[in-house]
């Protein structure tokens, strides 16, 4: 009864489009097999033929398409939760660090602009740039789960390793490269501010016009970011990730060979 082709086909049909990982599918298939076995046995005990019992048990279990949709929805929600959990430490450290740096810069660096403006712009700039590092990490984490889910076990480790290291290196580079220009642009802005003040005697007017100057500098800094921050780091990221992956692969092959010979 356990290997009834109708039951097997039905379960395979539901699970094939569910988006669940392979090991999870096997586990669920075993569980449902057991459930249907008990259900069919109880129906057969009441006098139904085996075919009728199977048909009734499957009908009771539910609509395959609806069940598949529910499993897929749950899996997506679970992926999202996992990705959030993985990205949370990066987010906390980077946003926290960015805020501390911007507040420190705004409070301690000299300049004629009111501290409130400097704080607001510093915080906004740093958080925006930091998000550039967190969002790719989150997306990559989701991708890692999607990509590795349906692979056989030996390829799974290789691909997971590649995706994971790409994410780690990418986050590192994007973080470093975006923090650098951001900090430079902010410091540069303050320096420009001081120079501007020193050649202009009408300080109150300059202070009045300062917010516009801040936004102009912010726009310039944001425009300059992609060129300086993304092209070289992207190529370097890929190269480093590939190198680490190849190293991991060779280590994996070596340990497998050692296990075989021993």
């Amino acid at each position: 009864m356990r290997d009834s082709p109708a039951v097997n086909r039905w379960i395979r049909n539901v699970l094939s489009g569910s988006g669940l990982p392979m090991d999870r599918r096997t586990e669920i298939a075993d569980e449902w097999h057991d459930h249907l076995h008990e259900c069919i046995a109880s129906k057969s005990a009441t006098g139904s033929t085996l075919e009728d019992a199977i048909r009734a048990a499957l009908a009771e279990f539910g609509d395959p398409a609806q069940l598949r949709r529910r499993l897929r929805r749950e899996q997506r929600a679970s992926d999202f939760r996992d990705a959030l959990v993985k990205t949370r430490p990066i987010a906390i450290w980077m946003v926290g660090g960015a805020l501390c740096a911007s507040v420190g810069a705004a409070v301690f660096l000299p300049g004629p602009t009111p501290t409130a403006y400097r704080l607001a712009v510093g915080c906004g700039l740093f958080v925006a740039i930091t998000l550039l590092a967190i969002v790719p990490a989150f997306v990559a984490s989701l991708l890692e789960q999607r990509v590795t889910r349906t692979l056989p076990i030996e390829e799974f480790h290789l691909v997971r390793s590649l995706v994971r290291w790409t994410v780690v290196v990418a986050v590192f580079f994007v973080g470093i490269m975006s923090f650098g220009p951001a900090a430079c642009s902010l410091i540069g802005y303050f320096a420009q501010d001081i120079a501007f003040v020193s050649i202009q005697p009408r300080i109150p007017e300059i202070i009045h016009g300062a917010p516009w100057l801040i936004w102009r500098n912010l726009a310039v800094a944001m425009c300059e970011l992609p060129l300086s921050s993304f092209v070289i780091p992207s190529i370097t990221t890929l190269c480093v990730a590939m190198a680490i992956t190849l190293y991991e692969r060779s280590r994996c092959v070596r340990s497998t060979a050692e296990a075989v010979t021993s």
Binding site: I28, E31, D34, H35, E60, L67, E74, A77, R81
Partner: protein
């Protein structure tokens, strides 16, 4: 009388948690147990129950483990985790409050 679907939706998780708190069970047993204990009101379909169990498991409220059953068959038995017990206590308190409120509005009927 068939219960309104929307009304059922909010309570299904709590009912399943309560049933598992009373006794760790596998899927088939849980379906039968809910049907019998609720006198047929909670006749959950397997298509509803299993995704719900997986969701609760992913949230860490219940834990499933394989146990060998009769005839060499393995069964996945679900039980409540500590987090699940806390969640159930919280939801039970909310449920009591809601029932009291609804009873008062409906004209002082007692649902104890």
């Amino acid at each position: 009388m068939k219960l309104n679907r929307e009304l059922l939706k909010g309570t299904t998780e709590t009912v399943v948690l309560a049933a598992l708190a009373r006794q760790p069970s596998h899927g088939y047993q849980l379906v039968q147990q809910l049907k019998a204990q609720s006198e047929g009101i909670f006749a959950l379909g397997e298509g509803t129950l299993y995704p719900l169990l997986y969701k609760l498991e992913a949230k860490g409220l219940i834990r499933g483990r394989w146990e060998s059953g009769t005839g060499g068959r393995r069964k996945r038995v679900y039980s409540l985790t500590r987090k699940g017990h806390r969640c159930l206590a919280d939801r039970s308190a909310q449920w009591d409050q809601m029932v009291r409120g609804v009873a008062l509005i409906l004209g002082g009927k007692s649902y104890a």
